[in-house]
Symmetry: C2
Subunit: 297 residues, 2 copies
């Protein structure tokens, strides 16, 4: 991008900061918000990088912008909070056209707008490298206590909100953040995380945080058709794809209660260590592998 200032002007004109929270919107050194006294403020950052989280030769700028925002909205979902506002920093390849940079920003904005999450600040720079885009999100508790990763208790059931595996075939770019579902789950969940690094690794985070273990039942695990398709191509069992692939962006949570909209896949155990009971009835250790966040060679 050769004219960053034109891009910045355009971004500022597009962004309607109609949130009642915002007292000073995009375009100053910092934005200012009047935070509601009863709401906890949640904050986190997530980035997408060319060749790691997307491939700029395959994916459109709009998709890339959307993914960057949706990853952050998914973090809100995993806490049971509501998105409130976001800021974004983007390192733009110098050869990227102004139109494509605008398309990127439009994708960001559209994904945020779908959840009333305006972009209230940003930083752009052009450079000789590839595209890097980081988004920081602010969420508000809005009447529901945020769900950490660390509250799982022995005997809790383990749930996921949808089928897993094979997201690399395309879903990793097009997933819907489970914000609404996260709000419904939060009151009954003891721990929650969104599945970005893969079930085995994200479950190990929950177990480690609480000093507990888990037993997964292979027969209960919902396997996505993409995992089966990928298995046909690479010969790796679809179960392994469901267990270890990343970027499903479904919610993984533990609860002593029931939640009919989600799928129960196992149980938290007092003894540390994660095991999977196969269809043969034998339990084997489940070693966290997790997706290595790498697209292409």
């Amino acid at each position: 991008v050769s004219d960053e200032f034109e891009l910045i002007d355009w971004i500022q004109k597009c962004q309607r900061t109609n949130s009642p929270l915002i007292t000073l919107g995009i375009g100053d050194d910092l934005a200012a918000l009047k935070w509601p006294a009863d709401d906890l403020l949640l904050v986190g950052v997530d980035q997408v990088i060319d060749g790691v989280h997307f491939d700029s030769k395959i994916h459109s700028m709009n998709q890339i912008g959307r993914k960057a925002m949706n990853r952050n909205l998914s973090d809100c979902a995993a806490m049971g909070c509501l998105p409130a506002a976001a800021v974004a920093a983007v390192a733009l390849p110098r050869e990227l056209s102004l139109d494509r940079a605008k398309e990127l920003c439009a994708g960001l904005r559209q994904a945020g707008d779908a959840f009333q999450c305006p972009i209230i600040g940003g930083d752009t720079a052009s450079w000789s490298g590839k595209l890097v885009l980081s988004v920081t999100i602010l969420g508000k508790s809005a009447g529901i206590k945020p769900v950490s990763r660390s509250g799982a208790r022995p005997g809790d059931a383990i749930f996921v909100t949808g089928p897993l595996g094979g997201s690399i075939l395309g879903r990793h770019m097009t997933f819907e953040p489970r914000v609404k579902l996260g709000r419904e789950i939060a009151p009954i969940a003891t721990a929650m995380i969104d599945i970005s690094d893969g079930l085995s690794r994200d479950l190990s985070q929950i177990c480690r945080a609480a000093g507990v273990g888990a037993m997964i039942d292979a027969s209960l695990l919902p396997i996505h058709p993409d995992a089966a398709e990928l298995s046909r191509r690479d010969g790796i069992p679809s179960l392994d794809h469901a267990l270890h692939d990343g970027e499903d962006y479904e919610l993984l949570f533990t609860s002593a209660g029931e939640f009919p909209k989600a799928i129960r896949i196992g149980q938290i155990t007092s003894e540390p260590g994660i095991f999977i009971r196969g269809n043969d009835g034998v339990s084997r250790p489940l070693v966290p592998r997790g997706w290595e966040h790498q697209i292409g060679p």
Copy 2:
């Protein structure tokens, strides 16, 4: 960096989140804060990029981490607010050693700690590209109304907090964010900005935001010895370096009052357009150029 998880563990262990604001610190999907009811929340993001804002072949990882945080602390200074917490996203070159990555994070943390600004969240990824580091800062108004860029009024005096120009010789990496001074200035300032893009461009932002103009007096402009040194090397007048170089990170503000710790350099005019009165008494248009944020060829 080959073992991101080890790096993340180390970061989490180092960070003491002793702020009373923080109810859930680093290590979850999002951090949570209990925001004080009387304080506005300020937020913004700023990134540093290899080859643009630093050169990883010259500057230490600790310096780079510090600069990334200090740029954000300088944004707090420019609003007259106090830093409260920060999150960081870093795209790490795959060949960077774990020790150097730790050094980067330590620099970030040390710069934040100097202003009681803990890092409460982050995202790391390794990739085939060069180092990109973005920091998002949360600031609190803490009893002082934030100063926007847009309140300059005709007749206001224009001030800077220190000598300008030639920061590329080294100060752009080692500057001290003017947080304390910003707090002192805020109650009397009508508009404020930190000089990152160069005086001429940052002043044009202030003028554009208020629909006013400015007259700068060349004889009043404090020229840094680095600008003179650079002038000896490149033949460009040191005054031009003071007017257009960027990354001084001094504060530029307008006020109807006096502020003895800062240097008055001119006056806001009702007629749009920025002019500079030379030592010959003649006023000439001052065309915003601004530093192009480019280190090396």
